[in-house]
């Protein structure tokens, strides 16, 4: 699913709102989240997950082609942590599909098939 697929699917569920407006809303959401991360602000979407900017320390690396030592500067990296509810929904979808060797090793407890 791409951003344009997302716009299509959202638009189909809100028939009282034009597709153009839906597009504007989706783009504004991503703009807002990008701005928040740029300001190193944490984003928490209940039921989905959270985004946080962490700093990767400067370190020494090596150019794999030449073997030359290079200094890699510190940089900010966005991290995503999946929310509990979504994490469970994604994993239970696997359990709902035909069992694998791993599922059998899990033991007797029957999961509530979602």
């Amino acid at each position: 699913m791409t951003k344009s697929d997302l716009i299509e699917r959202v638009a189909a569920r809100v028939p009282h709102i034009s597709k153009k407006d839906t597009e504007l809303v989706v783009n504004t959401i991503f703009e807002g989240m990008t701005e928040a991360l740029k300001g190193s602000k944490r984003i928490e979407i209940r039921g989905f997950g959270s985004f946080q900017v962490k700093i990767r320390e400067a370190r020494e690396g090596r150019n794999p082609k030449t073997g030359e030592e290079v200094q890699i500067p510190a940089k900010r990296t966005p991290f995503f942590k999946v929310g509990k509810e979504l994490k469970e929904r994604i994993d239970s979808e696997r359990r709902a599909s035909p069992p694998t060797a791993g599922a059998a090793a899990e033991g007797g407890t029957a999961s509530d098939a979602g």
């Binding site: 699913m1 951003k3 709102i17 990008t34 209940r46 979808e93 694998t100």
Partner: protein, 96 residues
Amino acid sequence: MTKADIVEMIYERVGFSKKESAELVETVFEVIKEALVEGEKVKFSGFGNFIVREKNARKGRNPQTGEEIQLAARRVLTFKPSLVLKNLLNDDMPAE
């Protein structure tokens, strides 16, 4: 930033009522979640990709007791930020 802040932003920038803004924001995240639960790849150019990965069962260890345990196969969600987003977060830092 929380979902409420995003709703507020839609209300201010796009001009929908608070009720409509909340409905739209809720629908956007619900559609994304449903796609991921179905195992679909979600790719937002300029932001990043959300990909569901299958992890095989493996042996692990309880770090507190040292006891060996069997970790079941699972399905996990990963996020790979786009290069555009990563660069944007570092545009005040020296390049390379």
